[in-house]
Symmetry: C2
Subunit: 488 residues, 2 copies
């Protein structure tokens, strides 16, 4: 066995451990009986520890040292070596005690964050947040949720949004003209019909239910062990039919990406999905760019009428399109519309940078948060729960994670612009529910490329352009102009 | 850390791996999408290999050698050492290549058995069965599915059944008088109502649904990772309401045993459930001894009427009792009634002994099977699928497993006889649906004793008698006399 083959064997072993861990986590969220929580935590800790032990095996370092000196590697081999090196360095740089301390702190912080939210009292979470920020500073991989991602690359993307999207929203708010949504809000939307609509749309997009499942969970997510077993979840509210549909399309986007990974690279780093930003581009593409398009509304209105004959009586595709594209600044990120969403992220990104740099103190954070909401969205939270305490991320130590959501939106717009150039019949195809050409374009240009390239290189290869906010700004501007008759 | 503590730490590690494997297996049977099968097999193989590697670590042998010389051990410590030694010896005796070869053969044999059944052609399975028998011969643990179990101990149990039960069934068949079952066979039994009945009965018995689940699967089983997460399944036929109810009671029996394990011995061999025969005693107790008793029928008839108001109109507890106790020789083991069931097992036990001893050739097996069915049950299979190909066990290499089913029946009768001596109000309690005293008796005398004693010792401790077929023969004889007016 060559050194490279030995490396792949070792990586396969680690990947199998993680696949198993993914199933345990999925089950924990979806099915597990309540009393099982403590022993499930032990099982998951065993998985983490075992994967960490195997990844930090000194032999992996030796093999990497040996192979890296070889400068005659093909594209796949270099990607595997590069990604294995990144993972090995990240795992070995962090002392095991620090990893354990972070894991324990995460459990404590999750509890204090939950209590702080319940009691609307930031001070309960304050100390744990400060520790989490300290950990984030110590972690060399700050702002490395996406491979190769740095503040230098992120700042220009966000400043593009700040300069273009913020004024556009201001125009919409000042004009103060929205569609009549009484047909949505004054009805009850049966859960069973929502499930059927979600299932039909996910099947139409091309999610393979022979290699995956749809289930119910409190927090929607896409998980599962591998491309043959992709499991996404959604939740339902009988007061609002859009949450489950667009949630389902979002997770279907993640799911089709997983199912489209290059299967000849199973168990290899180069065969993995390419970072959180690219992953989010696939979910946002189907949720927003396609799901909230006029063409999609035209295709889906017969489905809506089939599953909700009474609710949809007399509702046109135009009304549906207006309803799913309502622009209205709100306090809660997860409820935000497509136009305001990225401003929520921008605020978090600015705050995270200042916290890490020590330019803002934890005690000043809650008011700083409210100030920024007032500045960019023109609204102010009446309490901490609707303000700084709304997201779980910081309690989980996920500092620097939020920007991947905005990257996903920008990448989605940029990828769709390119896809449309290659697919002249795109609008007609969406109107007819023929999603295969677009899915195939994503399979060919994104999914099947795995992690062979760095994310920014992948976007450049697929679209001919470096990552940029321009396509998103064009897309949003044009849509808001059609909907509200305003432009920035 | 003392050598004993190190041993427990290592055993905990192995137990966690097995807990994880149990969840993967449960998911495979209940939920997994079909295309996930090949990678799930890799995950499960990883689990087996990793558990095997850790169990065969030479350090475990060293520790055992060191501790075993200590003759001043308490009951728990000796049990842990004894069981760890058994597991270590069994694992190290089998070379890893042999274990792998057996695992691969199991996959092949399962396929050829399935095909042989579909095409009703024994020759397709013949070669793989021959290999499985060869493996069983090579495995030192033949007839060791239950600790300490040998042919010397089994033969007297089966001869007791042969001498007493076979003639009893002959009497019933010759008398040829059965109850009128038209109220069962001429109705449709809604699946939803069957689910509600199963759930109600399982809750009444005392299964803790905060620490477990009920699901649907093709092959009913009880699994799940640990006593806080016990998962049992059942299946439903709208033509027959008894299969799901008694299946549910059977799995509930297994489930309450798992939930009743001594929690201070979590992760220790002495804290495990005590072998397959004792496990089966708990399932058979609730399924047959309780579930098919006259008192249980009296308690449950209002539930039957609640969930099946039309089907049960005018049906009395006496009619229900007669219906669930029909004695009728049939070809299929899993459909057999309580009286004939053990003869199915006895036939398999005799055949396995002859196969292993080389007294019967694989090619002669199908006809030998049919001959024995004719001799003991007076019926002959019209084809191989209803004959020798009916059970999955041999294709999975489980040769020597069947007798544990009969042991379960014998132990159940013996345990209940003792419990009734301690619980003078037993009949009244069952008639009133107060199952707690009996469950508590099992908790105190069986469940909480884990694997501290060998199975036969546990039976002796709980009942004051060595394992024997006598209680079962008395129980069955008395019931058949009440039902059919015959005695052997």
């Amino acid at each position: 066995m060559s050194a490279y083959e030995e490396l792949l064997t070792r990586l396969k072993d680690i990947d199998l451990i993680r696949q198993i861990g993914s199933l345990l986590s999925w089950d924990q969220e979806v099915l597990m009986p309540p009393k099982a929580a403590p022993l499930r935590a032990e099982q998951l800790a065993w998985i983490s520890k075992t994967a960490h032990e195997r990844l930090t095996d000194a032999r992996i370092g030796e093999i990497l040292d040996e192979i890296e000196s070889n400068d005659d590697m093909d594209e796949i081999t270099s990607a595997n070596i590069r990604l294995a090196r990144e993972a090995f360095d990240r795992a070995t740089k962090l002392p095991t005690e620090f990893v354990e301390e972070m894991a324990k702190h995460r459990s404590r912080a999750l509890i204090s964050w939950t209590e702080a939210r319940e009691k609307d009292d930031f001070s309960i979470f304050r100390d744990d947040l400060e520790i989490a920020i300290g950990h984030a500073r110590m972690k060399a991989d700050f702002y490395l949720y996406e491979s190769g991602l740095t503040v230098e690359r992120l700042d220009p993307l966000f400043s593009g949004l700040r300069e273009n999207v913020a004024p556009l929203i201001k125009e919409v708010v000042e004009k103060d003209e929205g569609p009549d949504l009484s047909w949505v809000t004054e009805s009850t939307w049966s859960q069973k019909a929502q499930e059927e609509l979600s299932q039909s749309v996910s099947e139409a997009i091309g999610f393979d239910f022979e290699a995956g499942r749809r289930d119910l969970s409190t927090h929607p997510f896409c998980g599962g062990p591998n491309p043959d077993d992709v499991r996404w979840t959604t939740r339902y509210s009988e007061e609002d039919p859009f949450g489950s549909l667009f949630g389902s399309m979002h997770e279907t986007g993640h799911g089709t990406y997983e199912q489209g990974r290059p299967r000849d690279l199973d168990f290899q780093p180069a065969g993995k999905a390419n970072g959180l930003g690219i992953h989010e581009s696939q979910s946002r593409l189907w949720e927003n760019q396609i799901g909230r398009s006029r063409e999609f509304c035209e295709w889906s209105i017969p489905l809506w009428r089939k599953f909700f004959p009474e609710n949809m009586d007399g509702v046109s595709a135009e009304q549906l399109w207006q309803a799913v594209n309502l622009v209205k600044p709100g306090l809660i990120r997860v409820d935000a519309d497509e136009a305001t969403y990225n401003l929520h992220i921008m605020i978090r990104y600015e705050i995270e940078k200042q916290l890490i740099a020590g330019e803002i103190d934890v005690d000043d954070l809650p008011d700083a948060w409210d100030e920024m909401y007032n500045e960019y969205l023109g609204i102010r939270a009446p309490n901490r729960t609707l303000g700084v305490l709304q997201d779980i991320h910081w309690s989980m130590g996920a500092i620097g994670y939020f920007p991947t959501y905005t990257l996903g939106n920008l990448y989605a717009a940029q990828l769709l612009e390119s896809a449309r150039n290659d697919l002249p019949e795109h609008d007609t195809q969406i109107r007819e529910g023929d999603f295969f050409p677009l899915l195939k374009w994503m399979r060919d240009n994104v999914h099947s490329r795995g992690s062979v390239l760095e994310p920014a290189e992948l976007i450049k290869e697929a679209t001919g352009q470096d990552p940029s906010p321009d396509a998103f700004i064009r897309y949003l501007g044009s849509k808001v102009e059609r909907l509200y008759g305003v432009s920035a």
